[in-house]
Symmetry: C2
Subunit: 176 residues, 2 copies
Protein backbone atom coordinates (compact mmCIF):
# COMPACT_ATOMS: atom_id res chain seq x y z
CA UNK A 1 0.00 0.00 0.00
CA UNK A 2 1.30 3.39 -0.98
CA UNK A 3 2.45 5.75 1.76
CA UNK A 4 -0.15 8.43 1.06
CA UNK A 5 -2.90 5.83 1.05
CA UNK A 6 -1.81 4.54 4.43
CA UNK A 7 -1.65 8.06 5.84
CA UNK A 8 -5.10 8.94 4.53
CA UNK A 9 -6.66 5.73 5.79
CA UNK A 10 -5.42 6.50 9.29
CA UNK A 11 -6.59 10.12 9.07
CA UNK A 12 -10.04 9.04 7.93
CA UNK A 13 -10.40 6.51 10.72
CA UNK A 14 -9.34 9.06 13.33
CA UNK A 15 -11.70 11.68 11.93
CA UNK A 16 -14.56 9.19 11.76
CA UNK A 17 -14.04 8.20 15.37
CA UNK A 18 -14.17 11.85 16.43
CA UNK A 19 -17.21 12.61 14.34
CA UNK A 20 -19.17 9.56 15.48
CA UNK A 21 -18.27 10.25 19.10
CA UNK A 22 -19.75 13.73 18.73
CA UNK A 23 -22.64 13.26 16.36
CA UNK A 24 -23.47 9.57 16.38
CA UNK A 25 -23.70 7.19 13.47
CA UNK A 26 -26.06 9.59 11.69
CA UNK A 27 -23.20 11.96 10.93
CA UNK A 28 -22.59 12.46 7.21
CA UNK A 29 -19.65 11.01 5.35
CA UNK A 30 -18.92 14.52 4.04
CA UNK A 31 -18.29 15.66 7.59
CA UNK A 32 -15.78 12.87 8.06
CA UNK A 33 -14.04 13.79 4.81
CA UNK A 34 -13.92 17.46 5.76
CA UNK A 35 -12.46 16.69 9.17
CA UNK A 36 -9.90 14.28 7.70
CA UNK A 37 -8.86 16.88 5.12
CA UNK A 38 -9.56 14.64 2.12
CA UNK A 39 -12.17 14.58 -0.64
CA UNK A 40 -15.29 12.49 -0.19
CA UNK A 41 -14.18 10.14 -2.96
CA UNK A 42 -11.13 9.19 -0.92
CA UNK A 43 -13.26 8.11 2.00
CA UNK A 44 -15.26 5.84 -0.29
CA UNK A 45 -12.10 4.43 -1.86
CA UNK A 46 -10.97 3.19 1.55
CA UNK A 47 -14.40 2.25 2.88
CA UNK A 48 -16.79 1.35 0.03
CA UNK A 49 -19.91 1.87 2.14
CA UNK A 50 -20.69 3.91 5.21
CA UNK A 51 -21.27 0.68 7.03
CA UNK A 52 -17.72 -0.45 6.33
CA UNK A 53 -16.44 2.74 7.89
CA UNK A 54 -18.59 2.33 10.98
CA UNK A 55 -17.62 -1.30 11.36
CA UNK A 56 -13.94 -0.34 11.19
CA UNK A 57 -14.13 2.15 14.05
CA UNK A 58 -16.32 -0.15 16.09
CA UNK A 59 -13.72 -2.87 15.66
CA UNK A 60 -11.00 -0.54 16.92
CA UNK A 61 -13.02 0.43 19.93
CA UNK A 62 -14.07 -3.12 20.76
CA UNK A 63 -10.43 -4.20 20.55
CA UNK A 64 -9.36 -1.45 22.93
CA UNK A 65 -12.01 -2.45 25.47
CA UNK A 66 -11.25 -6.14 25.07
CA UNK A 67 -7.60 -5.49 25.85
CA UNK A 68 -8.41 -3.42 28.90
CA UNK A 69 -10.79 -5.98 30.30
CA UNK A 70 -8.44 -8.88 29.59
CA UNK A 71 -5.59 -7.24 31.45
CA UNK A 72 -7.92 -6.63 34.39
CA UNK A 73 -9.12 -10.22 34.25
CA UNK A 74 -5.55 -11.56 34.45
CA UNK A 75 -4.94 -9.75 37.76
CA UNK A 76 -7.78 -11.58 39.45
CA UNK A 77 -9.01 -8.67 41.57
CA UNK A 78 -12.64 -9.43 42.54
CA UNK A 79 -13.49 -5.71 42.55
CA UNK A 80 -12.27 -5.27 38.97
CA UNK A 81 -15.69 -5.82 37.43
CA UNK A 82 -17.02 -2.74 39.22
CA UNK A 83 -14.08 -0.61 38.14
CA UNK A 84 -14.49 -1.63 34.54
CA UNK A 85 -18.25 -1.20 34.59
CA UNK A 86 -17.98 2.33 35.98
CA UNK A 87 -15.27 3.14 33.47
CA UNK A 88 -17.33 2.10 30.46
CA UNK A 89 -20.35 4.07 31.63
CA UNK A 90 -18.21 7.15 32.24
CA UNK A 91 -16.85 6.96 28.70
CA UNK A 92 -20.30 6.34 27.29
CA UNK A 93 -21.52 9.55 28.85
CA UNK A 94 -19.04 11.47 26.70
CA UNK A 95 -18.81 9.39 23.53
CA UNK A 96 -21.68 8.20 21.42
CA UNK A 97 -19.46 5.64 19.79
CA UNK A 98 -19.33 3.55 22.93
CA UNK A 99 -23.07 3.38 23.19
CA UNK A 100 -23.65 2.66 19.56
CA UNK A 101 -20.98 -0.01 19.65
CA UNK A 102 -22.79 -1.82 22.40
CA UNK A 103 -25.92 -1.84 20.28
CA UNK A 104 -24.24 -4.01 17.69
CA UNK A 105 -26.38 -5.52 15.13
CA UNK A 106 -23.31 -5.18 12.99
CA UNK A 107 -20.76 -7.96 13.25
CA UNK A 108 -17.54 -6.68 14.74
CA UNK A 109 -15.48 -9.68 13.81
CA UNK A 110 -15.39 -11.45 17.13
CA UNK A 111 -13.89 -8.55 19.07
CA UNK A 112 -17.13 -8.01 20.93
CA UNK A 113 -17.33 -11.70 21.64
CA UNK A 114 -13.79 -11.54 23.08
CA UNK A 115 -14.78 -8.64 25.29
CA UNK A 116 -17.83 -10.52 26.47
CA UNK A 117 -15.74 -13.53 27.40
CA UNK A 118 -13.24 -11.37 29.27
CA UNK A 119 -16.05 -9.77 31.25
CA UNK A 120 -17.14 -13.33 32.00
CA UNK A 121 -13.77 -13.93 33.63
CA UNK A 122 -14.17 -10.74 35.64
CA UNK A 123 -17.53 -12.04 36.82
CA UNK A 124 -16.16 -15.43 37.80
CA UNK A 125 -13.33 -13.78 39.73
CA UNK A 126 -15.83 -11.56 41.51
CA UNK A 127 -18.11 -14.43 42.44
CA UNK A 128 -15.12 -16.45 43.66
CA UNK A 129 -14.09 -13.47 45.82
CA UNK A 130 -17.69 -13.02 46.98
CA UNK A 131 -18.11 -9.48 45.61
CA UNK A 132 -20.95 -10.48 43.27
CA UNK A 133 -23.78 -12.73 44.42
CA UNK A 134 -23.72 -16.32 43.10
CA UNK A 135 -26.87 -16.47 40.97
CA UNK A 136 -25.92 -13.60 38.67
CA UNK A 137 -25.17 -14.55 35.06
CA UNK A 138 -23.12 -12.85 32.37
CA UNK A 139 -26.23 -11.95 30.37
CA UNK A 140 -27.61 -9.74 33.09
CA UNK A 141 -24.29 -7.99 33.59
CA UNK A 142 -24.05 -7.21 29.89
CA UNK A 143 -27.66 -6.06 29.86
CA UNK A 144 -27.07 -3.72 32.76
CA UNK A 145 -23.89 -2.43 31.18
CA UNK A 146 -25.60 -1.50 27.94
CA UNK A 147 -28.62 -0.14 29.76
CA UNK A 148 -26.68 2.25 31.96
CA UNK A 149 -24.35 3.28 29.13
CA UNK A 150 -27.25 4.16 26.86
CA UNK A 151 -29.04 6.11 29.49
CA UNK A 152 -25.93 7.93 30.69
CA UNK A 153 -25.43 9.31 27.20
CA UNK A 154 -28.97 9.99 26.10
CA UNK A 155 -30.20 11.23 29.43
CA UNK A 156 -27.19 13.50 29.86
CA UNK A 157 -26.54 12.25 33.39
CA UNK A 158 -24.42 14.43 35.66
CA UNK A 159 -21.38 12.87 37.33
CA UNK A 160 -23.31 12.80 40.57
CA UNK A 161 -26.40 11.12 39.15
CA UNK A 162 -24.21 8.57 37.42
CA UNK A 163 -22.49 7.75 40.70
CA UNK A 164 -25.76 7.37 42.59
CA UNK A 165 -27.41 5.27 39.88
CA UNK A 166 -24.45 2.94 39.61
CA UNK A 167 -24.44 2.61 43.40
CA UNK A 168 -27.93 1.13 43.20
CA UNK A 169 -27.01 -1.28 40.40
CA UNK A 170 -23.87 -2.35 42.25
CA UNK A 171 -25.86 -2.86 45.44
CA UNK A 172 -28.08 -5.21 43.47
CA UNK A 173 -25.08 -7.18 42.26
CA UNK A 174 -23.29 -7.53 45.60
CA UNK A 175 -24.14 -10.33 48.03
CA UNK A 176 -26.37 -9.37 50.97
Amino acid sequence: MRADAQRNRARILAAAEEVVAEMGVGASTEEVARRAGVAIGTVFRHFPTKDDLLTAIMKQLALRFAEEVESLARQGDPEAIYTFFANVVAQAAAKRTVVELLDVDIQVGGQLQLMREAIGTLLVNAQRGNTVRPGVQLDEVMALLTATSHAALRGGWSDDLRRRTLAIVFAGLRPD
Copy 2:
Protein backbone atom coordinates in the same frame (compact mmCIF):
# COMPACT_ATOMS: atom_id res chain seq x y z
CA MET B 1 -64.76 20.98 13.06
CA ARG B 2 -66.33 18.97 10.24
CA ALA B 3 -67.14 15.31 10.86
CA ASP B 4 -64.74 13.95 8.22
CA ALA B 5 -61.93 16.11 9.57
CA GLN B 6 -62.46 14.75 13.07
CA ARG B 7 -62.53 11.18 11.79
CA ASN B 8 -59.33 11.66 9.80
CA ARG B 9 -57.52 13.31 12.67
CA ALA B 10 -58.25 10.31 14.87
CA ARG B 11 -57.23 7.87 12.14
CA ILE B 12 -53.95 9.68 11.59
CA LEU B 13 -53.13 9.69 15.27
CA ALA B 14 -53.86 6.00 15.60
CA ALA B 15 -51.82 5.17 12.51
CA ALA B 16 -48.95 7.34 13.71
CA GLU B 17 -48.89 5.62 17.07
CA GLU B 18 -48.74 2.22 15.38
CA VAL B 19 -46.06 3.27 12.94
CA VAL B 20 -43.85 4.90 15.55
CA ALA B 21 -44.23 1.90 17.84
CA GLU B 22 -42.94 -0.30 15.05
CA MET B 23 -40.41 1.84 13.25
CA GLY B 24 -39.47 4.60 15.65
CA VAL B 25 -39.58 8.34 15.12
CA GLY B 26 -37.57 7.95 11.93
CA ALA B 27 -40.60 6.50 10.13
CA SER B 28 -41.73 8.58 7.16
CA THR B 29 -44.86 10.67 7.17
CA GLU B 30 -45.87 8.91 3.94
CA GLU B 31 -46.04 5.64 5.83
CA VAL B 32 -48.36 7.19 8.37
CA ALA B 33 -50.60 8.56 5.62
CA ARG B 34 -50.70 5.21 3.84
CA ARG B 35 -51.63 3.37 7.01
CA ALA B 36 -54.27 5.94 7.90
CA GLY B 37 -55.76 5.68 4.43
CA VAL B 38 -55.44 9.41 3.65
CA ALA B 39 -53.24 11.47 1.36
CA ILE B 40 -50.04 12.97 2.69
CA GLY B 41 -51.44 16.48 2.41
CA THR B 42 -54.14 15.58 4.90
CA VAL B 43 -51.60 14.59 7.50
CA PHE B 44 -49.89 17.94 7.11
CA ARG B 45 -53.17 19.80 7.31
CA HIS B 46 -53.78 18.34 10.76
CA PHE B 47 -50.18 18.39 11.95
CA PRO B 48 -48.22 21.14 10.17
CA THR B 49 -44.83 19.57 10.97
CA LYS B 50 -43.68 16.06 11.72
CA ASP B 51 -42.71 17.28 15.15
CA ASP B 52 -46.28 18.33 15.86
CA LEU B 53 -47.43 14.82 15.01
CA LEU B 54 -44.83 13.21 17.26
CA THR B 55 -45.61 15.57 20.09
CA ALA B 56 -49.30 14.69 19.82
CA ILE B 57 -48.78 10.95 20.18
CA MET B 58 -46.22 11.44 22.93
CA LYS B 59 -48.74 13.55 24.79
CA GLN B 60 -51.34 10.77 24.52
CA LEU B 61 -48.91 8.18 25.78
CA ALA B 62 -47.58 10.31 28.63
CA LEU B 63 -51.13 11.01 29.71
CA ARG B 64 -51.97 7.30 29.73
CA PHE B 65 -48.93 6.52 31.89
CA ALA B 66 -49.55 9.46 34.18
CA GLU B 67 -53.09 8.25 34.84
CA GLU B 68 -51.96 4.71 35.54
CA VAL B 69 -49.26 5.79 37.94
CA GLU B 70 -51.55 8.28 39.72
CA SER B 71 -54.18 5.66 40.33
CA LEU B 72 -51.49 3.36 41.73
CA ALA B 73 -50.15 6.15 43.91
CA ARG B 74 -53.56 6.81 45.45
CA GLN B 75 -53.81 3.22 46.69
CA GLY B 76 -50.68 3.59 48.79
CA ASP B 77 -49.31 0.09 48.15
CA PRO B 78 -45.56 0.18 48.91
CA GLU B 79 -44.92 -2.51 46.25
CA ALA B 80 -46.62 -0.48 43.53
CA ILE B 81 -43.43 1.16 42.34
CA TYR B 82 -42.03 -2.25 41.37
CA THR B 83 -45.19 -3.22 39.54
CA PHE B 84 -45.23 -0.01 37.57
CA PHE B 85 -41.52 -0.16 36.80
CA ALA B 86 -41.78 -3.70 35.45
CA ASN B 87 -44.85 -2.76 33.44
CA VAL B 88 -43.16 0.18 31.71
CA VAL B 89 -40.11 -1.90 30.82
CA ALA B 90 -42.30 -4.69 29.46
CA GLN B 91 -44.13 -2.23 27.21
CA ALA B 92 -40.89 -0.61 26.14
CA ALA B 93 -39.61 -3.97 24.94
CA ALA B 94 -42.45 -4.06 22.41
CA LYS B 95 -43.01 -0.39 21.53
CA ARG B 96 -40.42 2.09 20.45
CA THR B 97 -42.74 4.92 21.31
CA VAL B 98 -42.31 4.34 25.01
CA VAL B 99 -38.57 4.52 24.81
CA GLU B 100 -38.51 7.55 22.59
CA LEU B 101 -41.02 9.28 24.80
CA LEU B 102 -38.74 8.87 27.77
CA ASP B 103 -35.94 10.55 25.84
CA VAL B 104 -37.92 13.77 25.65
CA ASP B 105 -36.20 16.76 24.44
CA ILE B 106 -39.61 17.65 23.07
CA GLN B 107 -42.00 19.34 25.46
CA VAL B 108 -44.99 17.14 26.15
CA GLY B 109 -47.02 19.81 27.80
CA GLY B 110 -46.34 18.97 31.40
CA GLN B 111 -47.70 15.42 31.14
CA LEU B 112 -44.25 13.98 31.68
CA GLN B 113 -43.75 16.21 34.68
CA LEU B 114 -47.02 14.92 36.11
CA MET B 115 -45.88 11.35 35.58
CA ARG B 116 -42.60 12.12 37.30
CA GLU B 117 -44.37 13.58 40.29
CA ALA B 118 -46.69 10.59 40.54
CA ILE B 119 -43.71 8.26 40.51
CA GLY B 120 -42.33 10.42 43.31
CA THR B 121 -45.42 9.56 45.35
CA LEU B 122 -44.91 5.89 44.58
CA LEU B 123 -41.35 6.23 45.86
CA VAL B 124 -42.40 7.98 49.06
CA ASN B 125 -45.04 5.31 49.70
CA ALA B 126 -42.44 2.61 49.17
CA GLN B 127 -39.90 4.20 51.46
CA ARG B 128 -42.55 4.70 54.11
CA GLY B 129 -43.47 1.00 53.80
CA ASN B 130 -39.77 0.09 53.85
CA THR B 131 -39.73 -1.57 50.42
CA VAL B 132 -37.18 0.91 49.01
CA ARG B 133 -34.10 1.93 50.97
CA PRO B 134 -34.18 5.44 52.47
CA GLY B 135 -31.34 7.18 50.62
CA VAL B 136 -32.73 6.58 47.13
CA GLN B 137 -33.92 9.70 45.25
CA LEU B 138 -36.41 10.14 42.45
CA ASP B 139 -33.65 11.02 39.98
CA GLU B 140 -32.03 7.62 40.26
CA VAL B 141 -35.33 5.82 39.88
CA MET B 142 -36.12 7.74 36.70
CA ALA B 143 -32.61 7.14 35.44
CA LEU B 144 -32.92 3.40 36.01
CA LEU B 145 -36.33 3.36 34.42
CA THR B 146 -35.13 5.00 31.20
CA ALA B 147 -31.97 2.91 31.20
CA THR B 148 -33.72 -0.43 31.43
CA SER B 149 -36.46 0.61 29.00
CA HIS B 150 -33.95 1.66 26.38
CA ALA B 151 -31.93 -1.46 26.71
CA ALA B 152 -34.92 -3.77 26.75
CA LEU B 153 -35.97 -2.44 23.38
CA ARG B 154 -32.66 -2.01 21.63
CA GLY B 155 -31.06 -5.09 23.07
CA GLY B 156 -34.09 -7.24 22.26
CA TRP B 157 -34.19 -8.74 25.74
CA SER B 158 -36.10 -11.98 26.16
CA ASP B 159 -38.80 -12.16 28.82
CA ASP B 160 -36.47 -14.20 30.95
CA LEU B 161 -33.52 -11.85 30.65
CA ARG B 162 -35.78 -8.91 31.44
CA ARG B 163 -36.99 -10.63 34.60
CA ARG B 164 -33.50 -11.46 35.78
CA THR B 165 -32.10 -8.01 35.02
CA LEU B 166 -34.94 -6.26 36.80
CA ALA B 167 -34.43 -8.61 39.75
CA ILE B 168 -30.92 -7.19 40.16
CA VAL B 169 -32.07 -3.58 39.89
CA PHE B 170 -34.87 -4.19 42.36
CA ALA B 171 -32.46 -5.90 44.75
CA GLY B 172 -30.40 -2.72 44.63
CA LEU B 173 -33.42 -0.61 45.49
CA ARG B 174 -34.72 -2.73 48.37
CA PRO B 175 -33.40 -2.25 51.93
CA ASP B 176 -30.87 -4.83 53.18
